[in-house]
């Protein structure tokens, strides 16, 4: 293994986020995923002669939303350009993109590297974000000597978000990608589905000797569509570059692909035969003007951003930074928390504990989002009320939660049906305690001889005799009084 400690790693990411518009960026065809091949490819997407692109306002709104969320400059005027290359899934022979003047310029994203107490905050600067169209799909198998072309995806709107080379490790790159992923989903501009290719990263990686001021030669790893592959591909590339340099070799600027099966990065094309895209302004599209009114309207429609909501949860409800951070990690979870409080759960801390504990555990197990949880915020709020008023001990509450998850109704109904009401009648508890004391003279003797453990054994016996329903605090008090 190469000597990492002498080298500094430099990483920049280019992320393609598929925007959640109903129709394509330049045509009125649907963007829905999974349709039969070519049923959503209109004459504009097919580049039939004489057709003209008409820009989708929905895609522009998404770009502005993103720009506002990361503190970018929204260009009053931006330009669409043609990026020329030939490939069968690009029927026009060029991709409409933005080159010299993109709609979103600058900005930054604050990321948390590491987790829990170890987490370190870092700011990654953004270069730009520009609107462009996706290409179609080529299928190379199953057709003897031929490739099959599906143009349903052609013309799907993308926002390509470009970072500055500010990341210094694969962990930082992954933290950035995750943070960006949750932000675009939070804003509702991207569904974040990485399997379907809605969020994919290209990583520009280079290394340089510690203390060097010039960047090393970079290689670009294309099309990483999972956080795990992003991390592994960058790690593999770093090792390869350091080894190559330490062996006296040189890095050649190139585009590479990551092969997860062999865990290696492989050169796709070098700079010498890199494409010459011959960008030029697209004469079919006039400049995109974004007025101050348009920006103001979008700003007004934007949801509270996760960072602000996290700070508010801490200040307003006294949640820890960690709890507030996890709750605001997804819009669905944050909404669930807010809805639980709105449904009458008085104790925010208890609500947070249930959401981050039992609820999240069950959601993970079932692999569903918070919005699809069978225990709705109203049901959870009902449960929390019964904990607060002493009807349920925490142990009984877990039983009720499980029953609610199984669809057995609300907390009150389950408490009645299963007879789970906590026994808080001190007379009733006293009666059970007396019986337990009479049946366990040995434990009583041991306790009187100074063995604290015997006390716990007696508590256990009382709880058992009450089928777990006796109020534990009262059991403790009564036992102490009787033994004392």
């Amino acid at each position: 293994m190469a000597g990492r400690k002498d080298w500094e790693v430099v990483i920049g990411l280019e992320t393609h986020t598929q925007l959640t518009t109903a129709s394509k960026i330049f045509s009125g065809a649907s963007t829905a995923f999974g349709a039969a091949p070519n049923t959503q490819a209109s004459v504009v997407d097919l580049a039939l002669p004489g057709v003209l692109p008409v820009l989708n306002k929905g895609a522009v709104d998404c770009a502005i939303k993103f720009g506002l969320a990361v503190g970018s400059h929204i260009a009053e005027k931006s330009i669409f350009a043609r990026k020329n290359y030939f490939y069968p899934d690009l029927p026009k022979g060029y991709q409409i993109s933005q080159f010299e003047i993109p709609v979103v310029q600058g900005g930054s994203l604050t990321i948390q590297v590491g987790s829990g107490q170890e987490a370190v905050s870092k700011t990654v600067r953004l270069t730009r974000a520009h609107l462009e169209e996706d290409a179609g799909k080529s299928l190379h198998e199953d057709f003897a000597g031929m490739s099959g072309i599906d143009l349903n995806r052609a013309g799907t709107p993308l926002l390509e978000i470009v970072s500055e080379p500010d990341m210094r490790s694969s962990a930082e790159a992954v933290a950035y990608a995750k943070s960006l992923h949750s932000l675009v989903m939070w804003l509702g501009i991207c569904d974040g589905n990485m399997q379907e290719g809605s969020f994919r990263c290209d990583a520009n990686v280079s290394v340089r000797k510690k203390g060097a001021t010039e960047y090393g030669t970079r290689r670009e790893i294309k099309n990483l569509n999972s956080f795990r592959f992003l991390e592994k591909a960058i790690e593999t590339e770093i090792d390869w570059q350091i080894e190559t340099l330490e062996d006296g070799g040189k890095i050649r600027q190139a585009t590479v692909l990551y092969d997860p099966d062999k865990n290696e990065t492989r050169e796709m094309r070098s700079k010498e035969d890199a494409m010459d895209y011959r960008y030029f302004p697209d004469p079919d599209l006039l400049p995109l003007a974004v007025s101050a009114e348009m920006v103001a309207a979008i700003r007004a429609s934007m949801p509270e951003l996760p960072e602000a909501m996290c700070a508010r949860f801490m200040a307003q409800y006294g949640l820890s930074a960690y709890d507030a951070g996890v709750l605001t990690g997804s819009h669905a979870l944050a909404d669930y928390f807010s809805a639980t409080l709105a449904a009458g759960a008085a104790d925010a801390k208890t609500a947070a504990n249930w959401i981050l504990g039992d609820l999240s555990g069950r959601l993970n197990e079932a692999d569903i989002g918070a919005a699809a949880a069978p225990v709705t915020p109203a049901l959870l709020a009902g449960l929390i009320k019964r904990i607060a008023d002493g009807t349920l001990s925490s142990k009984l509450a877990k039983e009720v939660f499980a029953a609610m998850w199984a669809g057995e109704g609300d907390a009150d109904r389950i408490i009645e049906a299963k007879g789970l009401r906590q026994i808080s009648d001190s007379g009733a508890i006293e009666k059970i305690v007396d019986e337990v004391l009479a049946a366990n003279p040995k434990s009583v003797e041991e306790f009187r001889a100074g063995r604290e453990k015997a006390f716990n054994a007696l508590v256990g016996q009382v709880m058992k005799a009450s089928k777990g329903k006796a109020n534990p605090a009262q059991v403790n008090d009564i036992l102490k009084r009787k033994l004392g």
Partner: protein
């Protein structure tokens, strides 16, 4: 700026145009004239003039985000040379 025959062939290759040596020579002569014209235009002082990206000084009109197209696959594929399972077939390409 002057242009050479190898530039012509490079541009032809980028544009996927198959040209004969005679055609390349003719294109070289024509392109050289065009470059001369550009050179003349470059002498105009444009200090303080904002570059235009389009010949018409109007801004792009935006379309509401609505699906307006229906499935026209059958009509669209009627003129395709080869189709299978709803896909357009082309000579195999793998980068």
């Amino acid at each position: 700026m002057s242009i050479e025959l190898k530039d012509v062939n490079h541009i032809a290759n980028l544009a996927r145009i198959d040209i004969s040596p005679a055609e390349a020579q003719a294109a070289l002569a024509q392109l050289t004239n065009i470059f001369a014209l550009i050179e003349e235009m470059q002498t105009v002082d444009t200090t303080g003039v904002e570059p235009m990206s389009h010949g018409i000084e109007v801004n792009q009109r935006l379309r509401e985000d609505r699906v307006t197209e229906t499935d026209q696959r059958e009509a669209n594929q009627a003129s395709a040379p080869q189709v299978e399972a709803g896909l357009y077939l082309v000579p195999k390409v793998i980068e």
